[in-house]
Symmetry: C2
Subunit: 507 residues, 2 copies
């Protein structure tokens, strides 16, 4: 059948969509989410069908104007560019079978194990945009309900890696780290990358932006230098300095993962198998040989039960073995924020002070970072067992880590800046202790919430600054934390929230 093109001014950024009127869809025996092959000259594309005004065979609603009429086909931007058509062109439409991977998704829904080829087919179709949102959703739901076993997770990881781009550095040892998340002010990557690179290791670190926290590593690094680079740029930076601190989202490393995360979002699902494959695929994609995984545990963190953390630790170890990677998995205290500042600028300032061995630096951030860097120095065999911590500490305290950090951010297009030169919100409000006693809890979830309401991470200068941590003895009226924001309404709302629930417990 031949139809007249009507280019629509909309795209999905991903899946190719073509829109038919109800009558033509009926004539072609097509239902929403069915696939068609569209041809224009030598160009062709497989598109997913949307039917205007039809809900499972119900008649067209009484819209004042009919957008797609009989004989017309509405094309989303992705289809327009693929075919190079303009409104009024005539294209051919042919029905196309559903991707075979849908039958594998159904197999998993029925509780059966998936073979290597089947997982590859699913991940490949997700990457290529051949599966609709509903179809990917069924895959995630199936994996949530019928947990993937280690063999399936291994295949899934390889499939995610191989359907994306990969960083090829041709190094014997490549180091990487990952934190499960949920802890505020946990900017260890910005400390560990320069320590390890200064020790002569290669650390091609990609980080994410914040999703639910007040700042991700990428958001914080961005206060000091650009973070959006192509894979070729990243390679150049790592070759030059030994390390990098770039945003992973701009590259096509394990790209299927991003689409899977997108359908997990509506119901906040995160099946363990997908979590493991997602993290390790990103590490494998940069060629990592030695990896440190940080699992913070505690009230207010993502993982609250030590038993769950230990189970996850075992799974990371098993998966890494199967992927031929050396891994160290540490369980850390996730019951309070690590650094003092919470929010991009406040966290960047903390990192600079700590790297410069300033008295204003964060003791907890220094301690955690040096420990983690030490473990990686030993894991790679770079230093003898038992020496890692001290050598990492020496690299930091000698100023070599700071020098390397400036080298990395300069290679990324930034400039050295004094911590107190980083722009901060001018308006702030101080929350004080309502009674005397010992600080027994500082809730990560609530601190992130207050900092986000104040404007972080989109307002880089907004956030929260902690004057104390757990264990501090405070007197009534002592400063607990300050809230920073130049948006008066945001500041007011953040103060209101903090008055109701401020995340501190004093025992």
């Amino acid at each position: 059948m031949r139809l007249q093109v009507k280019n629509l001014p909309i795209g999905t950024g991903d899946i190719a969509i073509a829109v038919l009127c109800d009558k033509d869809a009926t004539r072609l025996d097509l239902r929403p989410a069915d696939r068609v092959l569209l041809k224009f000259g030598h160009k062709k594309i497989v598109a997913t069908i949307d039917i205007i005004g039809r809900v499972n065979g119900a008649p067209q609603r009484d819209h004042k104007k009919q957008v797609i009429c009989c004989g017309e086909i509405g094309l989303f931007l992705e289809v327009q560019y693929a075919l190079g058509v303009k409104t009024g062109d005539i294209i051919e439409i042919l029905s196309e079978k559903k991707p075979i991977s849908i039958s594998y998704i159904k197999k998993k829904l029925e509780g059966k194990r998936l073979e290597k080829d089947e997982l590859y087919a699913i991940i490949n179709d997700i990457t290529e945009g051949n599966l609709s949102e509903a179809e990917i959703t069924y895959f995630v739901a199936a994996c949530y309900l019928h947990e993937l076993n280690m063999t399936e997770i291994t295949h899934l990881t390889y499939a995610m890696v191989e359907t994306g781009e990969q960083l090829k550095l041709h190094q014997h040892i490549i180091v990487d780290k990952h934190c499960i998340g949920g802890v505020a002010a946990n900017r260890t990557s910005m400390m560990i990358v320069p320590i390890l690179a200064a020790a002569g290791l290669t650390v091609p670190k990609t980080s994410s932006r914040s999703i639910t926290s007040a700042a991700g590593t990428a958001d914080t690094v961005e206060v000091l230098c650009p973070v959006v680079f192509s894979l070729a740029d990243m390679k150049r930076i790592v070759h030059k300095t030994g390390g990098c601190l770039v945003w992973g989202g701009a590259m096509s490393l394990a790209p299927s993962d991003d689409k899977i995360i997108q359908v997990e979002h509506p119901v906040s699902l995160d099946p363990t198998g997908q979590l493991l494959a997602s993290i390790m695929a990103k590490k494998k994609s940069v060629g990592a040989t030695h990896v440190l995984i940080d699992i913070p545990v505690g009230r207010g963190a993502k993982i609250t039960d030590l038993k769950d953390a230990i189970s996850l630790q075992g799974k990371f170890e098993e998966l890494s073995k199967r992927l031929g990677m050396k891994v160290a998995v540490i369980i850390t205290d996730g019951s309070q924020p690590v650094g003092n500042g919470i929010g991009p600028a406040l966290e960047a300032r903390d990192v600079l002070w700590t790297l410069k061995n300033s008295a204003r630096g964060s003791i907890l951030l220094k301690e955690k970072s040096v420990t983690m860097a030490g473990i990686l120095l030993e894991l790679t065999g770079k230093v003898p067992k038992g020496k890692g911590y001290h050598i990492a500490l020496d690299i930091l305290e000698s100023g070599k880590a700071y020098e390397k950090f400036i080298e990395v951010i300069t290679a990324q297009g930034g400039k050295e800046i004094r911590p107190d030169q980083i722009p901060m919100a001018k308006k702030s409000y101080i929350v004080t202790a309502w009674k005397s006693g010992k600080v027994t809890h500082i809730d990560n979830g609530i601190m992130n919430k207050i900092a986000r309401i104040a404007g972080a991470p989109h307002d880089q200068e907004a956030g929260v600054y902690l004057f104390c941590h757990k264990g501090t003895i405070v007197r009534r009226g002592d400063k607990l934390f300050s809230i920073h924001s130049d948006a008066p309404e945001r500041l007011k709302y953040a103060i209101d929230i903090a008055k109701k629930e401020n995340g501190f417990e004093i025992g």
Copy 2:
């Protein structure tokens, strides 16, 4: 935040969608599928967010033209009409919480039982367009994996009924029937409705169009008269004649069901709980008090295993009891097509011949319909036990059923027509027996496929006509069936298929 409207020439027919550019979405901390409240003067609507060019935080693709720029908001038709805005107007956008029903969907995904209020909330949000495709998909997947129990199915059925329109006929007894489907030429409704209405019963029958078969009851009735009516029209027709044969899709009877079926389609899922609730909700919505359910079983039918049919039978009986409806569930032979013609015109002609007691009528269709009508006559208490079959046969053979049928199709705007006056495709091809023997199998699936390729149901005149049924002794060269289509390519393709695989087995 205030944004400038850009009206987009597209709608979904259902969910209200607003489109933002990546940058504004980041600023507002919104992700795809998040909800926002849009305000224009006194008008407001909750819309679901789509973000142009963004896949989980990935940057804008290099589209030659940016459709939605910073400060703009693209509105789908549904939003435009709700707010009464035109391009250039300024509207306010506020973030809106996710519907609470999403937490119930997650609860079901975790294998927990849902309470009455929770199922109502889910179905109400589906009906109101408050849940996205991915969210409804999770609901269906959860019900597939953690089967609903009978209490949940009962609540689900009531929720589906009460969130839609209902037919109120104020009759003591209202009769309905339903067939699980999968059998070709199974036009019993067109026989049973006039028999029962002629007996003085009220039969407000709604039917579906074909989804995967060569013709649904609605498609076949449409050969003789219109089938698209409002609920008020339907009521008028039933009051006048005692029965009707209308398309259910045009009315809002249990409308959530249509949306659920739509997300089941991509992976051909049909959880038993949803199947039961879906069928019984449609019956309850027309006020049915006495219902006959037909479960055809056999090779080539939807249900192939007798055990599954018996299990389903028990569930229908239990659910009907809980809904306060009397039900008879029969298991019938689904191993071959019922009538001779397959395709709307061919089936309509069969029905007319059979109602007119012509020698060209279908013996199997007559036998099955009279049996079923007899069961319903007895179930309602209209006739004494043991008398149903004979009384139904008498109504048919006396010509009263035919008279009533003409009365119904006339009330629906049709006219009496002789069976041989129904337009048929002029071109046909006859498939003959390749050997002598007894016909042992005629596959419904394959027959439907051949008829669909020939053009049915969209080409009303296309299809297949069977010259024999199972048990017939044929000699080599005898006619088995003919294929009808006036579209030369379709006819050729259907013949090719039939030469490879014609669905007949001769023993």
